[in-house]
Amino acid sequence: MRRLPIYLLLTLAALFFLLPLYIMLVTSFKTMPEIYNQGILALPRQFDLYAWRHAWSGATIGASNQGIHPFFINSFELVIPAVIISTAIGAINGYILTHWRFRGANIIFYLLLLGTVFPFQIILLPMAWVQGKLHIAGTLIPGLVMVHIIYGLAFTTLFFRNYYVSIPHDLVRAARVDGAGFFRIFWRVMLPLSTPIIMVTAIWQFTMIWNNFLFGVVFTNSDQQPVTVAINDLVDTVTSVHMWNVDMAAALIAAIPTLVVYLLAGKYFVRGLTGGAVKG
């Protein structure tokens, strides 16, 4: 019985977080007249898929009227290389910072740490300048991909460094005596032990990059924008009536990939954050 208040509190908290999701879901399946005539919490009378279809392939966004699907694809084209490359570089950085220490390694690490507390806005101008110089301004690939890789490196390096410090250095020493070099040790000894931290880093990067709006809006031209920016345009596009159901469906479509990632790999995320590195 003493547990009752706890359950009550947890239920309330869950409701608080789930309510907006519930409203989005039911609204996305309603027709416009229904939205105007029914209470916001009411269930749809019949599940109408029009809003989903329209959001996916018919809605007007900027100059195009193909719905959000081209932008959804843009986001994938952005997120896949950016996550892979930033995770890979972070892993190598972490490996060097822990097991191939060099003079000044600590200073570099602390500078990288600083990178994790920079707000997005700080890098906008310098990055725009760099992109201009490289003639990749406004592009999704490689422009925006590069922005996300660079911004993410501080985080991915930090994750891998903190994981690799707990891997005994004797393993590296043993492998060196056994005749393995820098990359072979990384590949054969370190990487097989790294699944939890790869998962954590990849999920983190996927979520950060997929959900990012600011870099997308600043650094890409209209047809190259990621889905987050497209949703904003969709909502902003002024037509005679505001299609709430279409807005909701589009937002839900954009949220699906992160949800799927969490469902598939979430257990690794929890395990990677709580468990130590290697046992024996």
């Binding site: 004797d170 043993a174 005596v177 056994d178 005749g179 393995a180 054969r188 046992k279």
Partner: protein, 371 residues
Amino acid sequence: MGKLILQDIHKSYGKDEVLHGINIETGENQFLVLIGPSGCGKTTLLNIIAGLEQESGGDILLNDRRLNGLSPKDRDIAMVFQSYALYPSMTVRNNILFALENRKVPKAEREQILMDVARMLQIEHLLDRRPRQLSGGQQQRVAIGRAIARRPTLFLFDEPLSNLDAKLRVEMRSEIKRLHQQLQTSMVYVTHDQIEAMTMGDLIAVMNEGVIQQLGSPESIYNDPANRFVAGFMGSPSMNFLPVVPREEASGLCLRVAGAEGDGNLLPVPPKMQGALRGQLGRRITLGIRPEQITDPGSAREGEALHSIELDVELLEPTGPDTLVFTRLDGHSLVARVHPSTHLQIGSRCTLSFHMERAVFFDPENGSRLA
């Protein structure tokens, strides 16, 4: 094969020098033991030999080949770590094969070596397990197997047995010794266990604070210590140290125990040491004598003169093969070692005989050997 020469090895970390000029030369196929207290630089020296750390000065020669500057993989050396350092993600088989693959040994030969090593160390049934599925002793065997598979010119061991329980330690100790005989290679073995050092070493280097205190056979280290540090470090229980003052008596040169009331107990100086100690007349010096050299009367060898004194028994520690007697000579505590059949009682008096022939003398200031 395998003759190791270290010439004037120095190592500094920033401003701290941790090795101050190490010189060691081993014979062919010798078993060299490095022993010393924690932090004296044993691991650092081993890492320098292996090429895992860069020396700040000096030369390393293996079979007359200069190793300086070579990377670990080009030194023809294998190493066994205190933590075993088995690769957690690989099976025992792959742990052993890893070094062979790195060296591009042909596959058929690799399999042959694997089977030989597994048989030699009796780990055939463990080949498909991962390290975490092994006991400490089995892990240590695999670690040794991984080193053997390479057939290196030199083996380095960094306290390989210190994580094992006492019984296993004794077993592995003789197993490593047996391997040394079987493989006919040089080994350098770091330990801070003096029993390991005494039982395994052909040559022992006693280190302290980055300096070799003495390099010699187990017998010479034990019986003929170069200084007070070596004398006190080797042997358990430790050697007894007494402050004494040499003086001339009618009967010849004698030692008065410092701090004794009146004359106290005078200890005679055996003839062979008299020359060296005459120079110290009236000066306070340190007498070193091992517990087993203060023992039952009647234990004298032929022609040996014992000096017997009656002392109070303060505490008795039967260890099994012999009994330790804690007593006091002119106010200074002493440990003696007697035969377990000797009948003694705490609080009673007993007669103990001093084998003065075996005693050693040190300068109390710098610990150097006087006689």
